[in-house]
Every structure is written in C-alpha cells, then in structure tokens.
Amino acid sequence: MTMESSVVAGSEPTVEPRGFELIEREGLETNLLEVSMGPHHPSTHGVFRMDVKLDGETVTELRPVFGYLHRNHEKLAEDMGYLGSMPFTDRLDYFCSMTNNWAYALAGEKMIDLEVPERAEYVRVIMAELTRLVNHIMLVGFFVNDLGALGTPLLYALREREKILDLFEWASGARMMCNYMRFGGLRNDLPEGWLTKCREVVDAFPYFLDEYEKLLVENEIILVRTQNVGVLKPELAINAGITGPMLRASGVNYDLRKVDAYGVYDRFPFRVPMGEVGDCYDRFMVRILEMRESIKILRQAMDELPEGPIMGEAPRVFKPPAGEIYGRIEGPKGELGFYLVSDGTAKPYRYRVRPPSLVNLTVLEDLCLGHKVADAVVILGSVDIVLGEVDR
C-alpha cells in the first residue's frame, strides 16, 4: 500500500521500506538483496552459511557464519588423557585423518623429546602423502562439481580415493577414522603385502591424473569460470595467515615440508608448485601439480623404507613436564598445528588446534567482493574447507 502510494506520488518515497537500503545508480533505483546461503546449501560443503548482500547478482558484502558443527573438541581434550584425544583428531578433517594424527603426535613427541624410529617416520610420510592425494583429488572433484559439472568428474575422483582408502583400512583398520599414529611411532606395522599393493595404486595414479587433466584442465568452461576469479594478492595472503596450497597459488614459496623439514622430509627432493595470479584456476592447478610431486615422494619413500621397529620408547603413561609446545605440519589444506600447554599432569592444561581451513576462510569476503553469486560458490570451493575442522 505504502509502496504504491509512493509510486503514485512520483516524487521521493514518503515511507522507506524497512530492512532495505536504497542505492542510486545511474538513475535506476535498486534494492540490495540480502541472501542467506546455507547452512544447508549444497555448495557450502557442510553446514556453513554465507550471509551475502547482493546488488543484482554482484556480491557487495559477504559474512561467513560458522559454528554449526561445533563439537567442543578442545575442551573435551582438556578433560582427558593425551592419548584419548588421538581418535578425536581423526574427526577434525575427515579427509585427512592421517595428517591430523601426525600433527598431534608430533606435538606430543616434542613435549617429551621422544625419538621416532626411522621406519615409523617413513611410514608416516607415505601415509601423509597418500592423504594429500585423497584430499586434493576430492577437492578437485568437488570444485568441478561446484562449477556445475555434476557427477562425472567427482565420481572419478571418488573412485581413485576409494583405492587409497582401502589401503588405509588395510593398514589401520578403518577407512577414514584411522587413529593410526601414536606418540613415538605407529600403532601397528604395515601388514604383509601392503607395500606391493600401495605401489600398484601409486603407479596407476599418474595415468589417472593424465586422464583427469585431459578432462578438466583445458576445458573452456572451466577456464572462463575460474581464471581471474577470486584473486588473492600475495600481500593479503601473508597478512591473513593463509597457508598451504592457497598461499602457494598466490605465488608465495612457503611449504612447511621444506621450511621445517619435520620428520624425514629433508631426504626427499621435490618441487613446490606455485601459482602466479592467485585466482581460482591457480588454486586448482597447484593442487593437481602437488599431487604429482606427492607421487614422487611416495615412490622414493617406498623404495627407501627401512626395516626396524615402529614404536619408539614411549612411556606407558604419557605425562609431559610442565611447559608449552607448538607442533605443526604441512597438512593438505595448510599449516595444521597443535598447541599444547601442560601443567605436569596427565591431562593437557590447554589444547588448541590451529585449523588451516578456518584461517583460510577468513579472506573469503575479500575474494568474493565484486564477483557474481555463482562465483562465490566457486571461490568457496577453491578455498578447500572442511567444516569439521573449521568449527571443531
């Protein structure tokens, strides 16, 4: 009614509609539209909400809302022994349970200066690189899925992932919630014949990657949709604390496997792929190239895998001296760190996870501003988040 009357009057509106801002643009008056994408939007990879303000189809403001999947991980961990948190780290980022285990085990080992036997270190590298394959292949699959290529590329990715998950199950007893690493080593040795099978899978992987690249990399639709979309400048990336493939896609050479050389990573020659522009296409390509490097590391690690024990001299009761420690690794998504404060008892006084997904998500608004809604979905896909890790 009021709207109508204002239109009839033909002059300035007498009653402003509430909740909308009127903006002037070349004589045409349009309303900003506020849209809540999620928490059950299929493109948000879980329960994640983006409150976007749209001018037509262009994003003018974007507010990420998360916390729907909060499970009290850190507080729970402070109320139980150190070992008890190990299975819960699997559930942070369910694609990368092996690397999560490793990061936590690394922090614990630092606390009590525990030596890890050679063989265990090599097996850890193998597992971590397999995890990287799983994570990146799934990211690429979902990313293309978000672009609108429903099904086919994602299912090819799932097929390859399945082979690696079978390997995980064989070695650790569970496909995704591996719970495989312990302070000072591994829970059990690799079963007989595992290595042969692993070699088969790894040797077949480059052929799959070739095929996959043929399928996607030159596809004009993908090029148009991803190039120069969501450009992340290196300065912003560094200031925001972005890590992992996303940082490297912006052209910053920073890989903890090289910088920290934790475990036995200093023994493997591999290259760190970097992007130039920092757009979605670079982020996508960096992951594909990283998979190729992972395969190189895997081959070498399997060739050099020494015999020997898989468990160091870990104490039966894990009771670190008072102090604080920060252990970090290069997870597939970025720097995954565990910050532990001990007060000398068998329970951590403070247990904090530095989740790469959450930190990488902080620049989402900067990436999306000025792009269309459909691009926001693509950009979110290229950031690579897992909500289990964002919310903890």
Binding site: G84, S85, N219, I221, V317
Partner: protein
Amino acid sequence: MDLLGSGIFKGMAVTLKNFAMTYFDRGRKERLPTVQYPEAGDTVTLFTRNFPFLIYDGEEEVDGMRCVACQICERECPPACIYIVKEKDENGKFVKRPKVFDIDVSVCMGCQICVEVCPFDAIVMDSEFEYSKEDRFGDLLFNRDELLKSNDYYHKIHPEEAQARDANLAAKKAADEAKKKAREEKAAAAAAAKAAAEKEASEKKDSPEASEPVAEEPKAEPAAPSENHAKAESEAKEKPAAEETPVEEPAAATDETEDAKEESSGGSEGKETSEEPEETAGSGEDDEKKAEEGEGVS
C-alpha cells in the same frame, strides 16, 4: 589453444572412453568393480575393528573371563561408553570379575583405545559389522554376557593378533608364576624360620603346642593371591596417570561403600534375593566406617 571448444571435446572423449570401457573390462580389479555385498565380498581386513568384545578362555563363559574389572578401560575410553561394576562375593569382598560390563555401541567409536590400555589382554576388537537392531537404545547397549566371546572366535577373526596376545599372556603368566613361586618359597622359608623360632621359644617354655609348619601353610597360600590383587589394584591406580587419588585405601573403601549402598537400596541390580542385602548390610556398615575414616584422610 586451438579451436574454441576443443577442450570440451577432449573431455567428452575421456568420459566416453570410461563409459565404454565399463562394458569391456568388467571385473578387472583396477576399475574397482562393485562388491555384491550380502552374497559375496569379504570386506574384513587384517586390522578391521568395529566394536570391542570380552574374551574368555576355555568353555566357561563367566569363569574363563580374562577381565579383572580393573576399570582402566572405563577411565580411558574417550567417549566414556564403558560402564563397569565390580563383582563381590557374599562376604562383600571383591572378586576379580565385573558384575556389570556395559558398552554402549551407539556411542563407541571403535577407536581401540580400550584394547591398547587393557593390561590383561581381556578386551579386543571385533570385526562383526552387521548390527541392525530394532531398539536404538536398549538393544545397542551390550551387556557383559553379550560381549563375552571365546578365544577361539578371536583366533578365527584375527589369527595373528590372537597368537601374539596368547604368547604375551603365556609369558606374563610364566613370569607371574615364577614370581609367585619365589614369593612362596620365601614365605615358606620365613614360616619355617618362624616356626623354628617359635619352636625354640616353645621349647624354652617347654610348651607342647609348638605350631607345625603344616598349620602355617594355609596362611601363606592366600597371601599370594591377595598380594597379586593388591598389585593389580595399585597398577590400575597408577597407570592412568595416578590421578588425584591421594592414598589407595580410602578410594577403594569408598568404592566399596558405594556398591554396598547401591545394593542395600536395591538400586543398580534391582531385585536380588532378600538375603543378600542383609548380608552386605553388615559389611556395608564396616565399609562405611572405613569410608568415613578414608574421607577423614582425604
């Protein structure tokens, strides 16, 4: 890049090839054929773990149970889905066996922590995965008798692991026995010495009631198990981090009274025979006194 759209056609060729190949090399392993689950396909691998179960040795389910109700697993289980009540004999003394051992498998996450912390190799992981039940709460709470499975079954599902565990147990048992023997010998020697001393004393006194070593022996015998028990207890107390429990005794005493209270109020186990609460009531009073003392200490 050449012709616009050639990238798309290249991709299409890949999908077409994949599509066509599904008809030609079916069943080739690297193409990951579908497993026809209920009819075929054994998905159980070497370390497959699902939910834990309790092992018993021999034929008797309850008597052969390896679990001694030390409650370490209960304390260490991350989602706290194990519930244990120790069993007592009619004198109110603990026997090394759980009366109640419940695992809520709807909460259990199959993490195997309980298996790793159990010092008696009493609990291990099952590979059974077909649990469909009608009642979400009642049926998925497995009690002691449902959890008990034989060692033979364990050997069937995880042969290597089972053998390793058996060897481990045998070694432990041998070591224990050697220790026990040494202790018994020591006790016997001490008893003999004591008897000799007493004999001497009695001879000095010229009393006819010189205690024979035969009378001494039954005393020495039960000493060993109770010591063992105490050792297990103290292990149990120490292992998970020796928490806030200040002294061992008061904690044990309070435990006892809690159980006693539950029983005398007809609580946890419900309808037991009417004689039992009366019997335990007597010991319960004792325990309460002890507990009061214990509380005074702590």
